[in-house]
Amino acid sequence: MTDPILIQGGSLLGGGAADVLVADGVIAAVSTTPGALETTGVRVIDADGLVVLPGLVDLHTHLREPGREDAETIRTGSHAAALGGYTAVLAMANTNPVTDTAEAAERVHELGRQVGVVDVQPVGAVTKGLAGEELAELGLMARSRAGVRVFSDDGRCVQDARVMRRALEYVKAFGGVISQHSQDSSLAGPEACCHEGEISGRLGLTGWPGVAEEVIVARDVMLARHTGSRVHVAHASTAGTVEVLRWARSQGIAVTAEVTPHHLLLTTEELLGYDPTYKVNPPLRPAEDVEALRDALADGTIDAVATDHAPHARHDKQHAFGDAAFGMLGLETALGVVASVMVDSGRLDWAGVARVMSHNPARIAGLGGHGRPIEVGEPAHLTLIDPAASVTVDREASASLSRNNPWHGRTLSAAVHTTLLRGVPTVLEGKLA
């Protein structure tokens, strides 16, 4: 264990400035009386002007290992996560091989533990090989040392309603949740590469309409009600999805949802130059959808922000738009986007940010040690934010192995100053510790 750390004068959510003493991986003391805590033999971090948040948790990260280590590894992805203020990430199952067995899940978990910069929690596939046909060994993954609780075929949608029903039923045995990439393949075929609307019509790109997401969300909500199980809507992207979610909540159906930073800020207009950096799935939607997603995040209809961090090697993006890979980076910039869109506009305060980027994602993922209140005895997963900073994003400065960064050249609000995992700094003054 490292030296105890005293975070001095940071602003605590719902309270004023306070000193927080971290020792042996937990929060050892919290004092609102300045200078009351002993500083000898203690490493002091001057947190004057900084906001202290519980460590951020990402429900939706693609780390590409195993299989595409040229795009990202668990090591580089962990570093990017720490720089973004994260202390835990859920690593999606669509690697090669797919995380669809206990052994595969344990391997990802163990590689994450060896890097030791963030807690890497594997997501298990819902179906073998993401093929959408037979259930993967959900129970064995749950019972493995990785303790998998979130299952997703992300990248693909579980199209077959019967398979989805069985998955929802089955995971009830161990408190699992199915995270669904909602995309009806008969309405959004294999050619679909963007939002279907005026811009796709003009550009001659094959789009997929918002309704292809909404029909699956609506179906899954009804299946969740029928099975009494829990469904999680990954990367909600349309106003119609928000409407379905509102209705489901009004009925007391167990559904949660996430939205990505890019769906909170970017619109389908970005496609006008055919730049594949902006090719993402679900696609960027029109401004009306973006507005509805912001409202839904502010009022709690959408529970969480999740990055859908999707690194790609340069050559996988250097194709014509329709042929390029889907996805964009997000771990290092998520907090800045949320601050720019939601905090600067007054839609969320910092306690709200903690709710959507830490407490709620940890709860949805069943990560008991994360997303905890900043109180004595709690694990010392902490993120210090400089709310007054503004950062112009430079894609070359990224810790990720990939450069498909839609935020390059844009200025975002706030900055991650320090990240602590179990009381150990992983990031100090914005740099890897």
């Binding site: 279907e196 609307g197 005026e198 811009i199 796709s200 019509g201 003009r202 550009l203 001659g204 790109l205 094959t206 789009g207 309409p209 130059g273 055919y274 594949p276 050559h315 996988d316 250097q318 194709h319 014509a320 738009f321 329709g322 042929d323 390029a324 890979a325």
Partner: protein, 311 residues
Amino acid sequence: MNKHLLSVDDLTIDDVNTLFTTAAEMHDVQRREVKKLPALRGRTVINLFFEDSTRTRSSFELAGKWLSADTINLAGKGSSASKGESLRDTVLTIASMGVDALVIRHSASGACHQVAEWVDCSVVNAGDGTHEHPTQALLDAYTLVRRLGTLEDKHIVLVGDLTHSRVFRSNVGLLGRLGARVTVVAPPTLMPSGVEAWSASAGFETSYDLDEVLPKADAVMMLRVQRERMSGGFFPTAREYTVGYGLTRDRLAVLGEEVPICHPGPMNRGLEIAADAADAAQSLILEQVSSGVAVRMSVLYHLLAGEGASA
């Protein structure tokens, strides 16, 4: 003119008029016994076709050869990405051989726009996915101008599979700017998404009813029905399409004998256009093909022969 011709939007009206004037001169050359002009001697033009199109490729090839350019045809590999060579690597390899212009046909919309960002030479879009085909639009407009004198206040009707038509997308951009009133006609399933907002801002009209529009037409442009689309459920049967949207013998009678008929080819005779209409005296379909070489000569000439050059 710009360095590239990627979209009809790259052209000013002055550019278009200049291109047409030169095209007319080139057209005369085609009637000579010896068709060669020395204008592009020593220049290299590569036709890089990732998608097959004998007609467009031959047209560009002749255009280059008649201007004395070294013209080479290359077939690009089909590009279903993620593995293997990226489009960027492919075109950079070819462009680095010392090429003056790349004429590109690609199955993906926007492909030529991206290529233009990567290479130093001129890029001519010879059809990118369902996006644009600017030289087709130029040759269509050129052919119509020769027949009608001017497009000012002329009512031009485009009929067919608009969703999947790059010819439509280029034409609707160009014809309107040349002063024509444009109406596009298709069943709702073959109208591009968001066409309401687009037509409002771009100033063209839409209709589902060909019989209502046809009597007011000064020219009709029939677009090919991509037969492979029929299985996508865009319309029930070929028969039903023809009854609703084909230029049938009955509709030809309504049109009269003066209104010119265009079709970019290849035609589905009997589906979108009856043989009587295709072969009618007012049909410009073969003229479009010969105009095509002249227009492409004009385009290559203005892109490659340098500032202030005249034919």
